[in-house]
């Protein structure tokens, strides 16, 4: 949207036309995404380097894992479509449909997180671990045997690269869902997030890898509450569009993780 020029009334010297023809929030988000792309770029480069350098590279993902990851990919792609429709609804001033589409986007994002979490739990249960790190998280399965346990012992860089990259992405998706919730429902989202956090903290057993990381939701709740307290506002079409940029970026990153991490480590 090149609408920042709308504030330009032609009075000499009063306003300077925006360099990029876009409002500052959008330029700010683009710059953040450019820097974040370098974070993921470095991780993906490191993964690819490991992939080329390590011979033989493990291929622990079989048909079931690939089917699961394909559904996750479809969820993210569909969430991008619903996000675009949400932006259109916001630009039309249709608040009800804006919320509906953002809610649909959140649902797809949550489905992605749940599917990913289930897959992580399964892989760790079968012996794929990062030595040391999993002990910190309270996950101990030193007695596990089989293909994945062997990979953890013989090619530890596989598990490190896999969990490092996918954890970073999952964190971004989680932040994205919270961001969407705040934009769609403002302060009304806070009690919902609080209930989800407390329920998840009680329901996830202590031996599960997500037992401690689920408290990220609590951190998100506090941060969202501070933001809403400091700047209470009714989020407009610009805010929805900026939030959409972040969400599409999360989708974009997965378009590299899915083929490089999953499809390059497949044995069907």
């Amino acid at each position: 949207m090149s609408d920042a020029a709308a504030a330009h009334h032609g009075l000499p010297g009063e306003y300077e036309a925006p360099l990029f023809g876009a409002y500052s929030k959008k330029v700010g988000m683009w710059l953040f995404l450019a820097s974040d792309s370098l974070t993921f770029g470095a991780l993906l480069f490191a993964f690819s380097y490991n992939r080329i350098y390590t011979v033989p590279w493990p291929t622990p993902f079989h048909a079931e894992s690939i089917a699961n990851a394909t559904v996750m990919t479809a969820c993210l792609l569909s969430s991008s479509l619903t996000m675009v429709l949400g932006v259109f609804a916001a630009q039309r001033g249709d608040r009800a449909w804006t919320r509906n589409w953002l809610l649909a986007t959140m649902a797809f994002g949550t489905a992605f997180i749940v599917l990913h979490g289930m897959e992580w739990t399964k892989l760790i249960g079968e012996g794929l671990t990062v030595p040391g790190f999993m002990t910190v998280l309270g996950v101990s399965n030193s007695g596990a045997t089989g293909e994945l346990a062997d990979i953890s012992k013989n090619v530890p860089q596989f598990a490190q690269a896999f969990f490092g990259l996918t954890a970073m992405h999952m964190l971004h998706v989680t932040i994205g869902v919270i961001y969407l919730g705040v934009i769609a429902f403002r302060k009304w989202f806070l009690p919902v997030l609080g209930v989800i956090w407390i329920a998840a903290a009680f329901l996830i057993p202590s031996g599960n890898v997500f037992h401690y990381p689920v408290n990220i939701l609590g951190g998100g709740l506090i941060l969202a509450a501070i933001i809403l307290f400091l700047k209470p506002k009714d989020y407009d079409a610009h805010d929805v569009e900026v939030c959409g940029l972040y969400w599409h970026f999360v989708d974009l990153v997965w378009m590299f993780i899915f083929p490089l991490v999953y499809l390059m480590s497949t044995k069907v």
């Binding site: 609408d3 259109f88 083929p259």
Partner: protein
């Protein structure tokens, strides 16, 4: 504001979504068939991923509809950074490939 024009052509976003799903299906098919050696497979998957990311950035993120200055500045700066990363990461990996490791 030219967003109203975007709203009129909402159908193109469904086409982009469909194209992304089809490209994903092609990737999965290649993953199942494994007709290429790993290094060639990596190249092909990277090309498909770059096409998919271009569709997402261009259409879903609306970069295609932004001012040319913003478009080119973002694309050139990020691409330049990735090229610099390449110089750091890959010379040794290229050496390994030249030694014949598949």
């Amino acid at each position: 504001m030219h967003d109203v024009a975007h709203d009129d052509s909402k159908g193109q976003y469904f086409w982009v979504w469909g194209a992304l799903l089809v490209l994903t299906a092609v990737e999965v098919w290649l993953g199942y068939k494994q007709i290429f050696e790993p290094v060639h497979m990596l190249e092909i998957l990277l090309i498909l991923s770059i096409i998919k990311s271009a569709l997402i950035i261009g259409y879903f993120m609306h970069l295609k509809f932004e001012k040319a200055l913003m478009r080119w500045m973002l694309v050139i700066s990020v691409t330049a950074c990735f090229i610099i990363m390449y110089f750091f990461f890959f010379p040794d990996a290229d050496r390994i490939l030249r030694l014949g490791v598949k």
